[in-house]
Symmetry: C2
Subunit: 686 residues, 2 copies
Amino acid sequence: MSDLLIRNGIPLSLAFGALGLGAAVVLIRSILKASDGNEAMRSIAGAIQAGAKAYLNRQLGAVSMIAVVMFIVIGLLRDWTTAGGFVVGAGCSLIAGYIGMTIAVRANVRTAQAASVGSHPALKVAFSGGAVTGLLVVALGLLSVGGFYLTVLKVSGNPKTAIDSLIGLALGSSLVSVFARLGGGIYTKAADVGADLVGKVEQNLQEDDPRNPATVADNVGDNVGDCAGMAADVFETYAVSLIGGVLVGHLVSPESMAALSYPFVVCGISILGAVLGVLYVNLFKQSATRALLGGVGISGLFSALLLYPATRAMFPDGLTVTGATVTANALYGCILTGIVLTFASVWITNYYTSTEFGPVRRIAAASETGHGTNVIAGLAVGNHATVLPVLLICGSIWCSHEWAGLYGIAIAVVSMLSLSGIVISLDAFGPITDNAGGIAVMSGLDPAVRKVTDELDAVGNTMKAVTKGYAIASAGLAAMVLFGSYVEELKAHLPGQVFHFDLTNPKIMIGLFIGGMLPFLFTAFAMDAVGSAAGAVVHEVRRQLGLKPGILNGTETPEYGQCVDIVTKAALRQMVLPALLPLVFVVAVAAIPSLGKEALGGMLVGTIVTGLFVGISMTSAGGAWDNAKKYVEDGNHGGKGSDTHKAAVTGDTVGDPYKDTAGPAVNPMIKVVNILAILIIPILFK
Amino acid sequence: MSDLLIRNGIPLSLAFGALGLGAAVVLIRSILKASDGNEAMRSIAGAIQAGAKAYLNRQLGAVSMIAVVMFIVIGLLRDWTTAGGFVVGAGCSLIAGYIGMTIAVRANVRTAQAASVGSHPALKVAFSGGAVTGLLVVALGLLSVGGFYLTVLKVSGNPKTAIDSLIGLALGSSLVSVFARLGGGIYTKAADVGADLVGKVEQNLQEDDPRNPATVADNVGDNVGDCAGMAADVFETYAVSLIGGVLVGHLVSPESMAALSYPFVVCGISILGAVLGVLYVNLFKQSATRALLGGVGISGLFSALLLYPATRAMFPDGLTVTGATVTANALYGCILTGIVLTFASVWITNYYTSTEFGPVRRIAAASETGHGTNVIAGLAVGNHATVLPVLLICGSIWCSHEWAGLYGIAIAVVSMLSLSGIVISLDAFGPITDNAGGIAVMSGLDPAVRKVTDELDAVGNTMKAVTKGYAIASAGLAAMVLFGSYVEELKAHLPGQVFHFDLTNPKIMIGLFIGGMLPFLFTAFAMDAVGSAAGAVVHEVRRQLGLKPGILNGTETPEYGQCVDIVTKAALRQMVLPALLPLVFVVAVAAIPSLGKEALGGMLVGTIVTGLFVGISMTSAGGAWDNAKKYVEDGNHGGKGSDTHKAAVTGDTVGDPYKDTAGPAVNPMIKVVNILAILIIPILFK
């Protein structure tokens, strides 16, 4: 058993990956079999599908151009195997987004139809749609990393070559994911904010009113941002964490086959856990929140239980890391650290963003005294929300490093991310129910249907905030592993030299400042992009309503395509500059002779430190504002239509780019900076 | 000449300090000689004086209690000389605030009176009031640090004892300044936001309408926050920079008398420059902006010119630092670096916060599409505004370290801060004109008077933003010097041990994360405090207007004292927790055995890195929102009363705690963390 796992850990885990893929296919078939409603519903769903597909195709075109340039540059300056890895990573990240979205735009209309039957059937369809993305992302991540590694190993016969080329794969997936998060995020929030500003504020239309020319763009946005963008992002997080584990395993213990295949085994077993969790949600009929959280619990518990014997089997005599022996129990401690960190960060984000607790209620209460106090309260909540996650991350770093050094941190990250399959199913479920509600309203279904989807949507909102907290917390840890890899790679590449990343070295301080600046600059661009694109939507909607007064009384049809076109172009144009920022700064700092290796190291850490705070505070504040508005709409502090509600809507609008554009894009951005630094070591540092 | 300067540099510079004090006395007499207007004006000014005095006295009581505890703790655990230094620093910081405010509440009514004669007389009185604070702060800073050093040196006969006890002085001034910035900031913004929310938004009253029960509290707030709080803050910044220079000078070159007295000489000469600058503004009759910026230019140019021969004279053979020789020209290069950084940071902040340039106008334009887009645009501007200052700081670190190591950075900071005298005169001038306008409206003077004060107030607004950028940029550099001192002190205290503050050490990463968290947590508390205190004011004003309907038609007088009392209590209660945060975290990290020295070092740097970004982005965004509102009020995008204006007011409200409470308090907070760490070395680390 022990020997089997060590020798065949990677192929075995790939088999589990294939199983996950199979489960996703089964889910897809079950979704497609469900009824897609009447003619009106199909027509609206068709418009959303067409818009989403058109956007993703154009995004694909833009990203491909950049990817081809990167491929050639990496191939010429480094090597073609790594460049090949870049293409595989970029391709898989795109595919994850593409398929996830393709299923989502089919599940939405079917969820609307199922909601006319009841709440549980709707939950089943929507959750299955989300689970497809969840399972696909982890299966694709495991298969692409493992498959590429085994292929290169077979062709080159050199494990070092195979591992090095994985850095290309990591960079490809991270870079595509920055584009997908930014482009999708700008699209969805520009359409959302733009539609709300004219529709809700100026014309008193309800959400998803078919008379609003921006309403289709808004629904398309949910899919390209919250489905495709998120899927690419999580694929990246998952693949990069796994690669980080492999990289560090090989660096700290080059002779050990077990150290290298252990991360794969952890991921493989967890896919089994995810499939079980999905089954649980689908089979047991209970309230949505209980079902979803139960699924996560089952999945985590199963992985935790199975990983103990697996760890013991893989490291019967422990693992020798730079002379010292790390026991199997110590490694299992790191696994548990990752799982505990996952559940803790889910709980904390839930505390700060759910209507059940103090923070959201304080924002709602602050809305009574106006727009200004609402925004102040939300910003304060965002800052407060950084404290516990960061302390927990510190605790996790301390424990796992104490137990197993850098490899221990890497294993904690892998263990944390191995739960992605089930966690992401929860996230992807939100936009499907959101869209289902939109289709129900636009196709004139009974208001009871909207009520069912609204309830599911509220659950989805909390889940979305929760998974963002999870993603950014994992990014903090994962980036630390990458920084460690940067240092180790540097040592391996320049064996004679000694490197001090000491804070007393002014180059390190300069690096810290420049790196710390990146998340601020990056989010500033992202917010500007949403603001200006939303402004363009506002002007277009005002223009249409002015030209065709019949739109408002229902005698004329708005040109939905115009708004779709505007946000498509704006998103594609405005995602490029911020997405390229990390590339430019990494290369500049590395290439300036008086900065170089040390300053670059400082820069990596600086980006991690401020990025973690910026990311957590933005996504938490955004989620809290959103739910504070919902809390007021539920009849508190004056309810819908009151001045308090108007103030709460302002916070929600500010929170939109915070939580869906700028904040989550910080996660892949941090990784691009760190991976690129590793990649350019042999190119720039001689 | 050379010998005279080296041997008597400190006494000589103290003579210049006394000269600055004398100039301040002359200005005070000239202000008091001016007419303080009619009976109505005197009565209102009296109410403001009484409120401000009452608040400062109560703040004095609260801070004294904490200071006494700290004095005893420091005395018992460290030594009584250092504890004495703590009392001197705390006392001078309090005195600076007290006198600055006492003059401001007398200059305000005289400025209102002078404004009825013309713009230039009003500028003269208001600027003289500001200049009193400016000159006092630098004179007091130089005299207290130099005087205390010479006294301890004389008594103990040991330079090391004298220098060590300066750390106590630094901590005293920093701690008081955190309290003063927070307490004053909470007071002023709670009153301001509260007065606006009911007065402007609900009752359509103008600014400073005497029918608003919160209007006296609002005017008191300008004095306790923008005058007293700011003066304490700048005193701290100045004293700590000077002490940092002395500390590093002694650490890197213990034998050199010149290295130790050079920072004093730089400060002394610059006081001469400041007096010249003040004279320039008072003597030449031109537009306010040109006069003020001209004064700064003259002052900087004079210091730069005189410091060249002084530096050559003090270091005829250069300075030997750890074996290598630093030339006088290299040291002068560091001086120029500080001066250039001052002018550059003034120019950059002006760019981001003045109505003349793109950023503020973009916020104004974004207000057209609503409250939400206004806030998004402002937050983005705040983040953008961090980039250039941070790059410049990096450049300054690089240059000055390249030229003269850590001592070079310390000299650049001293040179930067030596310009405080004139820079702070500009800052303190703003609230005086603001108050003058309030008195003019409340005492029913001709609207033309208000127009004169309004014009001066707009200039004052930009100046205030500009000096905050200057203070926080200098804090970044000064904190670096303090971190360097921490490391050197640690080495000196534990001579056998080797310390690695290497980023690959997980303790350093944990320290960076915990330190990075502090500015986020600290500003969250500060914003919460303003939000909740403003809410209490809103309820009190609503209560009074409900009880006495005659207030609104002018037949009944509001009870101004009630609002003054509410904000006084709220400010005192809510300043304590955030102000104690840095103390608690420093001691905790130092005392936890598995963290300790290294993690504490990481924590110092983490606080500097995120603090710099948080501080700059908050103060810049706040200034930009304020002026975007003014830009709309000047008739752009629909002007006063339009929906665009309402959205712009929201941004201004959010910006209030950003720019006047949380943002500027980050500056002394960073310093408290760093100084406290130095202070506890001999107590906790054995």
